[in-house]
Subunit: 416 residues, 2 copies
């Protein structure tokens, strides 16, 4: 049996690198990173730049009602559901050059490579950039819009709804029509996303590729410890109801016990705000932001119950009370065995080392996975740096990742 000629197909690494360097100029910061906050001027400039690349490549430019931007390579069968691939162009403030960008640019590069090779695939291919993945306004806004998962009315996490709607109008989106961005799941065959790992495992193990088996679920709480304000000099040390002391005990214990009891899970205490907050007043209130993540839905629910119990125990020990408010909960998303198989096959064909990994960060693939077969390809992050200007991935790994993406798309499109 003769090996099909497309097995030898490779992306154009120089062209991809040129795109990467150009894009990194948009919103470049003096620290060597990038700030392209969703819907900011630089984010819109990056979207315009991406649209130009799409048109330059003779792909069909498609914009939708939530600010997603796609380049489409039409397939031979207009009835065949499309294969989508991509990521996002927005960044966190003072972010890095790789997060999101690599997935979008490699998607575009794969479509150009397939087009140039004259391969006529049955399904259409679509390279997509999702809007506000980082959640500067609304976490995973573009992929939630496309998959029909936005709340109606909108519930942006970090801003008032009215403010967000105004913003959408300012960038040319009509907030009353965002619901039209929803796609018919029957028209999508699969989604695959290339992304940097944002962790240390691949880099430390010297592996080329991470084959993502699941994106972890995440649950966030605001836990408020309530004590009693008192004069810090005159109130006896043993009679105080010190809200910050209770919160501090909780912080130290939750780290130790999650590590001990849930080795696959992670916890973070990201902030604490104290009232009244003076040198000489015993804290009356300490409000803590806590987040737990785990790939298993059942274990995540167990962790959630555990942190609440622990908070109440710590509070009781120090004469405090606790009020809790769940800020957000997002279930984990297992990746599709079909897409995982296509990724593994591609790695083997290309001779790249790989290992199964969980994604501990949220991604657009998490939303896409709710409506279609989805998968993710990770490439190493040197030193695990993420969400800061030091983010770096060796170009060799970017190239390998893009080639795995290429062959995964081919496999999913019926070219095994």
């Amino acid at each position: 049996m003769k090996t099909p000629s497309y097995h030898a197909l490779r992306i154009n690494s120089k062209r991809l690198k040129r795109d990467f360097d150009e894009l990194a100029q948009i919103g470049a910061t003096i620290s060597g990173g990038v700030s392209r906050i969703a819907f900011s001027r630089d984010d819109l400039l990056a979207r315009a730049w991406f649209s130009e690349r799409i048109e330059e490549a003779d792909l069909i430019l498609h914009d939708d009602e939530v600010g997603n931007t796609s380049g489409i390579l039409p397939g031979s069968d207009p009835d065949a559901p499309s294969i989508l691939t991509g990521s996002h162009l927005d960044t966190v403030p003072e972010g890095g050059r790789y997060d999101g960008s690599i997935g979008v640019l490699s998607a575009l590069e794969c479509l150009r490579t397939i087009q140039e090779a004259g391969l006529h695939l049955r399904p259409s291919l679509e390279a997509i950039s999702f809007s506000d993945e980082e959640g500067s306004w609304h976490s995973l806004f573009g992929s939630m819009g496309l998959t029909g998962q936005l709340d109606k009315p909108l519930k942006p996490l970090h801003t008032e709804r009215e403010e967000f709607e105004l913003l959408l109008e300012r960038v040319g989106l009509e907030h009353r029509t965002i619901w039209n961005a929803r796609r018919d799941p029957a028209r999508i065959a699969a989604f695959v996303e290339l992304h940097i790992e944002q962790g240390l495992r691949l880099d430390r193990a010297g592996l080329d590729i991470g084959l993502v088996t699941a994106i972890v679920g995440r649950c966030t709480y605001e836990l408020a410890f309530h004590g009693r304000a008192a004069h810090a000099g005159t109130s006896g040390q043993t009679e105080r109801r010190d809200a910050l002391l209770g919160a501090a005990v909780f912080i130290t214990r939750v780290h130790a016990r999650i590590r001990e009891g849930y080795p696959t899970g992670v916890v973070n205490c990201g902030n604490v705000q104290v009232l009244p907050g003076a040198f000489n007043v015993v804290p009356a209130k300490a409000s803590l932001l806590v987040e737990v993540r785990h790939p298993s839905q059942a274990v995540l629910a167990d962790m959630e119950a555990f942190i609440l119990r622990l908070a109440h125990d710590c509070a009781a020990e120090y004469g405090l009370t606790v009020t809790e408010e769940r800020a957000d909960k997002r279930e984990g998303q297992p990746m599709s065995p079909d897409v995982m198989a296509a990724i593994g096959l591609s790695c083997d064909r290309l001779g790249y080392s790989h290992a199964d990994v969980h994604s501990y960060a949220g991604h657009d693939a998490q939303m896409m996975g709710r409506i279609t077969s989805s998968g993710m390809i990770f490439i190493p992050s040197v030193g695990g740096a993420s969400h800061n200007p030091e983010e770096f991935t060796r170009w060799e790994h970017v190239e390998k990742g893009a080639n795995v993406l290429l062959h995964t798309i081919l496999a999913l499109a019926g070219c095994p």
Copy 2:
């Protein structure tokens, strides 16, 4: 030997109560407390009200360059140094009706009582209300001005110097002349202050009077723990440098170890501010406000060294660094044995139970003690409530405190 007739002298409790009730109306809050922030409209109204009471009593009204207000009962010997007594009329925001007020009103009442009794004492007596004791702008401003201890230029703790100087001008004080408020220590014989305890000891022990032996020293630090921001999902739990975790460990240990190692000292961690402060970012920086108090200067210095060492130890354990900034240091102030003896004598004469106590709060007597023989009389605070509207002292104890103040003044003025 016949008992002198002035031994039977008592203050006019009804008149004092009427004054107390009137004053409590100025800046009264709906919660039953008082807000008379230094130099606010209500603070100025209280000062005007006090001035009227002074003139009504035919005492000499005296204002100085830092906003202190006094009523003077001239003595028979103009060369004899004066005896000062008083406290402050300003309060913390949403404070109580007793803190400061009781000391000022009782001082006035003692002068009226002595005047009415026709006692012609050798020294002049001065009932004084010090400005901004609570430090809304500059802690102990009035008593530091009178005792010549203000920094030149001014160093207000909670505001910019220019802003504070503007404020002084607005309330009719010329900021260039505040240094003239300094009194010649040779013109002052003694200072005595009546104040609520703001703690639980007297109330719990069922005692009438606390004889203050020393006002504790206080040392405040801003301790900043520095780690590294990282993605809370993707960075390994054991590889993080979590600034808040280090700070939390410090908070729990400093409380336990100060209680263990320095039973007479107190510690408070009043606030912590976290950067960047998001659910999903490992804290890069946690800035903690820490305060320690102790009556002994040597032990306070030892506690200061101890908390810094502990902070560095906690930081090292969690891969962090610490930067420290001393916000303030105020040495403790032992009270004068002569004034203490006069207070003790008065209690015994009146048949009131009393015990020696430390003052864990700062008071104007701390500043006065730097230049003259000073003492303090404490009366019980029910439940120890302080700096809040629930502050309460039974009137019986106010009356007893005012009578102890009266007889202490008499003893200090040469009427033993």
